[in-house]
Amino acid sequence: MATLRKKRVSKKLKVSWRKHVNIDDVEEFLEDKRLEERLGPIESKSDNELFKLDTQIETRLSAKERKKLKALKPLKCYHALEPHTKVPDPIAKRNRVRTKEERKNELIKKKEIANREKGILKAKEIQSMQDKKLYEIKKRNKPKKGDFNTDIWSEGSKFEIENDEWATTLTKKHNLKGVGALQKTTAKSLSKKKSLHPSIEAPHPGMSYNPSYEDHQDLLRMVADKETQYIKKEEYLTRVTRGMFNKVTPGKRDQMWMVEMSEGLPDKTSAEDNEASDNEYSAVNPPVKNKKKSVQQRRKQKEQRELELKRRVTKIEKKKIADIHQVKILKKQIDRSDKRQAVVKEKRIKRAAHKALEPNRLSSTKFEEQGLEFNLGEDIAGNLRNLKKEGSILADRFRNMQKRNILEPSIKRHRKNAKIKRYTKPGHKDDWKKTVAK
C-alpha cells in the first residue's frame, strides 16, 4: 500500500491537458536548440572561444574609473532599440520612408548649393536671421537693474512749451495734443504730504552718545513719565475689569450658573400643585375685546379736539404779541448763543489742529507710538568705541511710516512653528462596515 499511486486526472480539455502533462523535457530540448541557434553550435566553436584563461588579478575599480568605463558604452536609454536576438532579420530588404533630403531631386539639390554659394537665401532664412538680430538687440537693450543713464527730470523736452514754467498744464495739454508728448497729470492730493510729521524726527538731545547731564535726565524723565502712564492705565483696566468680579471656586461657579440658568423655570413641585388646583385655560394677557364707542362719546371727543386746536392757535397769537415786547430779551439770547457758538468753533479748530498731528485711524489695530530710545546712566561710556547701541532703525522707520499715514498699522501674524499638515493613512481609516453599516 506504500506505493505512491498516481492520481488520475481527466485530460479531456485542452486546458487540463496542458495543466497536467509534463513537457519539461521537451521544452528543455527546444530551449537548447534555440540557444544553439542564437550562439551557433558548441561543437563548431574552438576552445579559445569558449574558455578564457584568467591571468590577471581581479582589481576593484574606483568610482571614477567605473564612470569612465561606463561613458565608453552606449547609453542605456538606447538599449530598448537594439535587437534582442542575434537571429538575422528574416526580411532581408525592408522598406523605409526616405528622409526629405533623400527624396529631393538631384537637380534641385545642386541648384540650392549653387544659390547658397551666390548668397541667395530663402525667405524663411532671411526672416530667421532678422529675428535673431532683433532678439539680440532687444536683449542687449534690456535695462539692467541699477543702471541709471538718463535724467528723467529733463528728458522729453523736445518742445519748448513743455519747459515753459509760465504756461499752465492745461495750456500745455492743449498745445501738445497729438504730438507724442504725453502730459500726464496726477491728482494734487497724491503729491500732498499725508501727515504733518517729518520723516526724520529730530533726535532728543539726551539721545546723544555722550549727552549732557540735563538733557539725559530730561530724556529719562520723559521715558519714565510715559512708563508710569502705561502702568497707571493698566492698573485702571485691571481694576475695572478683573477687579470688579468676585472670585469663586469652579464648583460654586457651576452651581451659580445652574441657579441662574434655571431662573424662571417652573418649579417641579409647584407645577404639579398648579395642575392639580385648576384645569381651566388662562393666559397672562386676556384677549382683547373691540369695544365700540357710542355716538355721544365720539361727538365729545371731536369737540374736545376742536377746542384744543383753537386754544393752541390763540396761544401762538398771544405769543407773537408777547414776542414783540420781548425783543431785547431775544436779542440777548441770540447774542448768548452766538458767543457759545464762537467758543465751540474755537474749540473745534483747536481740536482739528490737534488731530492733524495724530495719526489717522487706518485699520482695526490702533497705532501705538514706540518709546524713545535711551541709555541708562551706567551704559553711557562717553566714547565712540564703547557706545551701546539702542533701538533699531528699521523698526523706527516702520513705525514712522505708520505714524505718517503711509502704512496701516497692523499686527503681523506669523506662525511660531511650521504648519503641519495632518492626515490619516487610508489603512487607519475606520472600517465603514463596522461603524456605519451596523
Binding site: 528723467i152 527730470w153 497724491l190
Partner: protein
C-alpha cells in the same frame, strides 16, 4: 412713471470710499501685489470723516481707499507686469514640479521686470520734489546696505543700496553740502543742504548685523519701499553728478594703480572699492565751478532788516563751514569708525588716511610728518608724534556743529569729553533759560563773553573765578594766557573813551523812541484775525523772558556765594599746603565734568 429709486451709498461718502477687499477685486490683484503697487505708486489708505457711511453701514474699522485712488491705479501700466509675474510664477512652478529644467531656465532667463522710471517722474514731477522726499529714501538705503541676504530681501538689493549710497556721499562731498552731524545711540544723523533743501538721514552704527524680530517689522513691505527708493536715489544721483560736472557712473583719474593690486581684483570691483573708500576725488567733466550760493535779496519787503542781517550772517558762516578742515591732515586710528569720519572730513576739505591694512584707499602712512590730527578712540598709545594732536573723534563732530574749529585741548586722547550736544534743537530755545556752561558748549565765541561778563560783574569775585577755571582746565596754560590777554585789552579799552562831539547834538533816546513808535505802528497792522494769537504770543514771550532773567539772577547770586565760600576755604588751605593743592584740584575738576 415713477422716479428711479435711489440706492443707499450711491452718492456721497459711501461712494467715495472703497474697502481694501473691494479694491483687490476691482484690480484683480493679490493682496501682496496690491500692497506693492500701492507703495510704488504712493497710494495710501484714508481715514473717512464718517466711518459708518464710508463703510456702507458696516461696523468695525476697515482699511479704506479713495475710489479715485483705485481708479488711478487701474490705469497704471505696471499692473500688467504684476499680472505677468503671476503667470510667470505659475509657469516656473509647474516647470519645476515636472522637472522640465530646460523650460525652467528659459523662463527664469526671461523673467518680467518692473520698470519704475516713469513712476519716479510721476511722483516727483521736479527734481526738488525728489530732494524733498529724500530723507526716508536715504535712511532706508543706508540701512539696507548693511543687510546680508535675508528672506524677502533680494541679494542684489543690498549691494545696489551700498553702491548708490556711496555715490550719494561722493556727491555731498563734492557739493560740500553737509551742514550738521550728530552721534546718537541710534546712529549717525547727517543733515545736508542740497539746492536749498535740507536732507536729513540716519546711518546705522557699524556694528555687526543684528537680526530683527519677525513680529516687529514686515520685511516684505520695507523691501518694496527700498525697491522704489533705490531707483529714486539712482536718478537723483545721476542728476546731482551732472549738476556737479562729474561723470555719472563715477570715474577716477588720479589713482596711482599699483600693479600688484590690479592683478588681484577685476576692474569693476577695483573701482567699486575706491568709491567705497570715499577718499579719492572723482574725475570731472569740466572744470566749471558750480555756483550754488545765492545772494540774499536785498529788497526783501516783508522781513525786518534784523532778520535779513541774521540770514546774511548764517550764510557767511555756512561759507566758512565749507572749508573748515582745509589744510588739515587727519589720520584715523584703526578703532575709529572709518566711513562717517572720512565723509565728514572730506566734506569740509580735509585730507584723511588710515592704516593700509584697514581698508583700501589709504593715501598716506601713519609716519607722515605733515599729519596735523591723529584721531584716536583709546585711552593711551605707545607711539607719539610731537607734530600732531591726538584727539578723539567727537572733536570733528562738535567742530562741524559749531561751524568753527574748536580748541583741541578738551578732546585730547584719554580726556573725558565734554557732552556732545544735538544740533537739531528747535529755535524756541532762545526763549529758554540756558545755563552758561551749556551756552559755552553751543557756541565757542560765547565762552569768552561769558567769562568776561563774569569778570566785569563781580569785581571782587574776579581772581577767584580765574582760579576756578584753572582747576577745571587742569593744565591748560594757553587758554589762561589768552584770557589774561583779553583782560588787559578790556582795561585798555576803558582808558580810551570817546567823548561825544559838540557840533551835532543828538537826543540819545530819540532813535529808540522812533523805533518803538514804528514797532507799535507795525503791531497795529496785525490783522484782527490774528490779534488774539499775537497778543498771547507776546505775553508768553514776556513771561519766558522774565523767567530767564530770574533764573540768571539766581545763578549769579549762587555763583557769587559759592565763590565767596571757596575763597574762604582756599585761604585756609593755602596756609596749610602750598604746592600739593593744584593736582588735587585738577582731579576734582575732572570728577565734576564726569558727573556732568
Amino acid at each position: 412713471m415713477v422716479a428711479k429709486r435711489k440706492k443707499k451709498y450711491s452718492v456721497g461718502e459711501g461712494a467715495q470710499f472703497m474697502s481694501r477687499k473691494a479694491a483687490l477685486k476691482k484690480l484683480q490683484l493679490s493682496l501682496n501685489d496690491f500692497r506693492r503697487l500701492c507703495i510704488i505708486k504712493g497710494i495710501y489708505p484714508r481715514e473717512p470723516r464718517n466711518r459708518k457711511r464710508a463703510q456702507k453701514g458696516q461696523s468695525g474699522i476697515k482699511t479704506l481707499y479713495h475710489v479715485k485712488d483705485i481708479q488711478f491705479l487701474l490705469h497704471e501700466p505696471i499692473i500688467w507686469k504684476l499680472r505677468d509675474y503671476k503667470i510667470f510664477n505659475k509657469k516656473v512652478g509647474r516647470a519645476r514640479a515636472i522637472k522640465d529644467f530646460e523650460r525652467l531656465h528659459r523662463y527664469l532667463n526671461n523673467h518680467p521686470t518692473l520698470k519704475l522710471d516713469h513712476i519716479v517722474k510721476e511722483r516727483y514731477p521736479t527734481f526738488l520734489d525728489a530732494l524733498r522726499d529724500l530723507d526716508d529714501c536715504l535712511t532706508l538705503c543706508f540701512l539696507f546696505s548693511t543687510f546680508p541676504s535675508l528672506a524677502h530681501v533680494p541679494r542684489d538689493q543690498s549691494a545696489l543700496c551700498q553702491r548708490l549710497t556711496m555715490e550719494f556721499l561722493h556727491a555731498v562731498i563734492e557739493a560740500k553740502a553737509l551742514r550738521k552731524v550728530f552721534i546718537s545711540i541710534k546712529g549717525y544723523y547727517f543733515q545736508a543742504e542740497i539746492k536749498g533743501e535740507t536732507v536729513t538721514w540716519i546711518v546705522p552704527h557699524h556694528f555687526s548685523f543684528e537680526p530683527q524680530h519677525r513680529a516687529e517689522v514686515d520685511f516684505k513691505i520695507m523691501s518694496t519701499f527700498v525697491e522704489f527708493y533705490t531707483i529714486l536715489l539712482g536718478f537723483v544721483n545721476f542728476r546731482l553728478y551732472h549738476w556737479l560736472n562729474l561723470y555719472y557712473p563715477p570715474k577716477f583719474n588720479s589713482i596711482n594703480q599699483n600693479e600688484g593690486e590690479k592683478d588681484l581684483v577685476d576692474e569693476n570691483v577695483y573701482v567699486a572699492e575706491r568709491i567705497a573708500a570715499l577718499n579719492f576725488p572723482l574725475s570731472k567733466t569740466s572744470n566749471e565751478v558750480v555756483e550754488e550760493d545765492l545772494e540774499i535779496d536785498a529788497f526783501n519787503n516783508d522781513e525786518s532788516p534784523e532778520k535779513i542781517e541774521e540770514l546774511k550772517k548764517e550764510a557767511e558762516k555756512d561759507k566758512q563751514l565749507k572749508t573748515l578742515f582745509k589744510g588739515l591732515k587727519f589720520f584715523l586710528n584703526r578703532e575709529v569708525p572709518r566711513e562717517p569720519l572720512v565723509f565728514i572730513i572730506r566734506c569740509f576739505g580735509g585730507e584723511v588716511s588710515w592704516d593700509k591694512s584697514l581698508f583700501v584707499g589709504s593715501t598716506f602712512d601713519e609716519n607722515d610728518e605733515s599729519i596735523t590730527h591723529h584721531i584716536v578712540d583709546r585711552p593711551s598709545m605707545e607711539k607719539h608724534f610731537i607734530s600732531r594732536y591726538y584727539i578723539q573723534p567727537q572733536w570733528l563732530f562738535d567742530s562741524v556743529n559749531c561751524r568753527e574749529l574748536l580748541p583741541v585741548n578738551k578732546y585730547f586722547m584719554g580726556e573725558i569729553l565734554p557732552p556732545h550736544l544735538s544740533p537739531f534743537i528747535d529755535k524756541e530755545r532762545d526763549q529758554q533759560y540756558i545755563p552758561p556752561e551749556e551756552r559755552a558748549l553751543l557756541d565757542a565765541s560765547i565762552e569768552h563773553m561769558y567769562k568776561k561778563d563774569e569778570e566785569n560783574d563781580g569785581e571782587g569775585v574776579d581772581d577767584d573765578e580765574e582760579d576756578e577755571d584753572n582747576e577745571e582746565d587742569g593744565g591748560e596754560n594757553e587758554d589762561d594766557e589768552e584770557e589774561s590777554d583779553n583782560e588787559e585789552e578790556s582795561q585798555n579799552e576803558k582808558k580810551l573813551s570817546v567823548t561825544p562831539g559838540e557840533v551835532f547834538k543828538e537826543v540819545p533816546w530819540e532813535k529808540s523812541r522812533q523805533e518803538r513808535q514804528e514797532y507799535r505802528l507795525r503791531e497795529k497792522l496785525v490783522k484782527n484775525k490774528h490779534r488774539k494769537l499775537y497778543k498771547s504770543m507776546m505775553e508768553g514771550k514776556e513771561k519766558r523772558a522774565k523767567e530767564i532773567w530770574l533764573l540768571r539772577k539766581k545763578r549769579r547770586l549762587h555763583d557769587a556765594e559759592k565763590a565767596e565760600d571757596t575763597k574762604g576755604k582756599k585761604k585756609v588751605a593755602k596756609k596749610e599746603n602750598g604746592p600739593a593743592k593744584k593736582n588735587e584740584a585738577a582731579t576734582k575738576g575732572k570728577k565734576k565734568s564726569k558727573i556732568n
